[in-house]
């Protein structure tokens, strides 16, 4: 397999409503920033991989065709990936394969959504099957509420521990100029007293809805070293699905994530992820999920996710900082969200994370989550090419 690296990233400023720019314009903003970061022009790009979440968010089908000028795909190869919440990561991973296959040398991956164009929970409720469950679904919050309750019941984690995640990531977000939520006085009390969305999930346990986009430039070995001083080499990727209606399912046991983690650790030879990974960007759309994901990625024992956050290990000063960007709890465009995890992981190993840089970060992992709570993606990036 040919080696490939992330050599440039671009994010838009995310807001609840970007009334100054159209959806294609938002895609353009991220794409041009990624090219600028990589120090290249659109002429250097061989192909584009476009990603966005349900087209009902913007009300346009085939958004990749609508956006073809803005994504840089004019007379270039372009495909659209759509895997729901994971789409940002699935798009970055598809772009990686395009380079790794030897087909293209430089690929632009660009993703985004403009969630303010329509009522987002209405759009998300169309994810549920019309015959089995759309009748009482409430977008993402109710599905994850079922997961959170089952997780609390099976492993004894608490709402208070979840609130610690909500506070930690919002504090980190203060250091990230692109994050949507900046809540300087965030506290556990604020989280615990915030409005209940769907028990046990409260407003501040939950991500916001954002207008935003993210792009990355992925280049092959040889070019990557020219484009970046310290490319973020992509060492392993995984895109796993566990299905919805399978026998013996328990939402507290994310099989697809565990399978994905085993695969990427095996590929990279990682045996002690807690020690060998320097920083993690996880797709915690809701506070509870960060604890669960850290368990499923073997950063701690099953059921210890709450204790892990309590210990301070996942803070920026801890031994395994999780979501120094502020995470999904601070910005969620859905379409670009999982790519922002990859871009942030890359920025960390490239030394370009600014105020939320983790000193000495050499190996980072980026996670994506989506679908009917069943899609998981992982990507490991490293300063180390070999």
């Amino acid at each position: 397999m040919r080696r490939a690296a992330i050599v440039g990233t671009g994010q838009t400023k995310c807001k609840e409503r970007r009334d100054d720019v159209s959806f294609p314009g938002l895609i353009y903003e991220a794409a041009t920033r990624a090219l600028e970061d990589a120090g290249i022009t659109i002429d250097d790009v061989d192909a584009v991989v476009f990603g966005s979440a349900p087209e009902l968010f913007e009300g346009v089908n085939h958004p990749e065709q609508w956006c073809a000028d803005a994504s840089g795909a004019f007379l270039k190869p372009q495909i659209r990936i759509h895997t729901g919440g994971t789409v940002g990561a699935s798009t970055g991973i598809a772009a990686f394969y395009y380079v790794a296959a030897g087909m293209f040398d430089t690929v632009l991956a660009v993703t985004g959504d403009k969630l303010s164009e329509s009522p987002v929970q209405l759009g998300l409720s169309t994810v549920y099957d019309p015959i089995l469950g759309r009748q009482f679904a409430c977008g993402a919050p109710s599905a994850v509420a079922l997961q959170a309750r089952q997780y609390m019941h099976k492993y004894g984690v608490t709402e208070h521990q979840a609130a610690l995640v909500a506070v930690k990531n919002r504090k980190n977000a203060l250091l990230n100029p692109y994050a949507q939520l900046h809540i300087p006085n965030i506290s556990v009390e604020m989280v615990m007293n915030s409005m209940v969305l769907s028990t046990p999930i409260k407003l501040l346990d939950s991500c916001p809805a954002s207008d935003g986009a993210c792009a990355m430039v992925i280049a092959s070995e040889g070019l990557a070293e020219q484009y970046a001083d310290r490319p973020a080499w992509i060492k392993a990727v995984a895109t796993f699905n566990e299905g919805v209606y399978y026998a013996g399912r328990n939402f507290a046991d994310p099989l697809a994530l565990m399978e994905a983690a085993k695969k990427v650790y095996k590929t990279t030879g990682i045996t002690d992820p807690r020690r060998e990974i320097d920083v993690a960007e996880l797709y915690e759309a809701f506070s509870f999920q960060e604890m669960l994901w850290t368990e499923a990625m073997f950063f701690c024992e099953r059921g210890e996710g709450g204790k892990l956050v309590e210990s301070g290990a996942t803070e920026m000063t801890g031994d395994l900082p999780v979501n120094p960007s502020g995470g999904v709890l601070s910005t969620n465009t859905i379409g670009a969200t999982a790519m922002m995890r990859q871009a942030e992981a890359a920025m960390q190993v490239m030394g370009r994370a600014g105020q939320h840089q983790i000193d000495g970060a050499r190996t980072a992992i980026a996670h994506g989550w989506g679908g009917g709570i069943q899609f998981h993606t992982l990507m490991i990036v490293s300063t180390d090419k070999n």
């Binding site: 970007r18 803005a70 007379l75 403009k114 209405l122 079922l146 209940v196 969305l197 299905g243």
Partner: protein, 296 residues
């Protein structure tokens, strides 16, 4: 069995600077403007955000006379629910003088390739592409000019409504027939791992084999997890607050999702619940009204 339904969503589409300016000029000044790419000098009408070829934003404005030539015209003979006019009507590609691209718009019947035309505007204009009524022969349009300054439009509101007739498929058709006619909940047993999928499904997805053995399961079971929904949103099918959960029915290996009708304080993961059947069953999820605490 078939489920008839629809997906209806309201939108407020952000125009962005280019389209916002174009639509505002139509509305306020009955004027068509184009945008020139600073790199290749091509004038785009209607303007979009970006010149794809040069990958540069389009932001240099060019005022056009609204006169041009028909490049192609088609008589449309079929009707869509959102057709702008009853058929037959004419749709055309119009190359406006000073533009390097063509505008797609309505044209007066009978116009053909090569004909000179001018935009005829509507009296009442709201900032949409339909502020141009249609393109008509030069002689038939009066020139209107109400040069005022204009602010770009920020958004255009609209709605999408999509009709569906979803097939239940083989397994769910039988499942809901049994629930409607016999108040029975049926599952399908995997011949390989022996797990029972409820509601019945064509296959065991873990083993990827067809599950052909039908078994009845209990309408009693264990509440595995639940949530009380408080968050309201436009178009919500059930009005909050309401509680629903995942139930592992006795004899089933998969979760059944349904409403739970009990005081929230009394709900616990692991508690026994039972179905409350409706007297008017139509063969859908609401053949069961909800689940309640199991009667001892």
């Amino acid at each position: 069995m078939i489920l008839h339904g629809d997906i209806t969503i309201p939108y407020k589409w952000t125009t962005g600077p280019a389209i916002g300016r174009f639509l505002a000029e139509l509305r306020d000044n009955a004027r068509i403007v184009g945008a020139r790419c600073a790199e290749c000098n091509k004038v785009f009408v209607p303007p979009t955000d970006v010149c794809g070829q040069c990958f540069k934003p389009l932001d240099a404005w060019v005022e056009l006379t609204g006169e041009g030539e028909i490049i192609a015209a088609s008589a449309v003979h079929y009707q869509l629910p959102w057709s702008p006019l009853p058929p037959p009507y004419t749709l055309a590609l119009v190359r406006l003088d000073g533009a390097d691209t063509e505008l797609i718009h309505l044209a007066q019947e009978g116009l053909k390739t090569g004909d000179r035309v001018r935009a005829k505007f509507k009296e009442e204009r709201s900032g949409t592409i339909l502020d141009i009524d249609k393109f008509v022969p030069l002689a038939d349009a009066t020139v209107e000019r109400e040069a005022t300054t204009t602010q770009p439009l920020k958004e255009v509101r609209g709605q999408v409504s999509l009709p569906y007739r979803w097939s239940y498929g083989k397994a769910l058709s039988r499942f809901f027939q049994e629930s409607r006619d016999n108040k029975r909940l049926m599952g399908t047993r995997c011949p390989r791992c022996l797990s029972v999928t409820v509601p019945a499904a064509r296959i065991c997805t873990r083993c990827f084999v067809e599950a052909t053995e039908w078994v009845e399961v209990s309408d009693h079971g264990v509440l595995e997890t639940f949530t009380t929904v408080h968050l309201p949103f436009p178009g919500q099918p059930t009005e909050p607050p309401y509680t629903y959960g995942l139930i592992l029915l006795d004899g089933a290996s998969t979760y059944f999702s349904h409403l739970i009708e009990e005081p929230v304080e009394s709900l616990r993961c692991g508690m026994r619940v039972q179905a409350v059947w409706s007297d008017e069953r139509k063969g859908d999820l609401f053949d069961i009204l909800h689940f309640k605490k199991e009667e001892s």
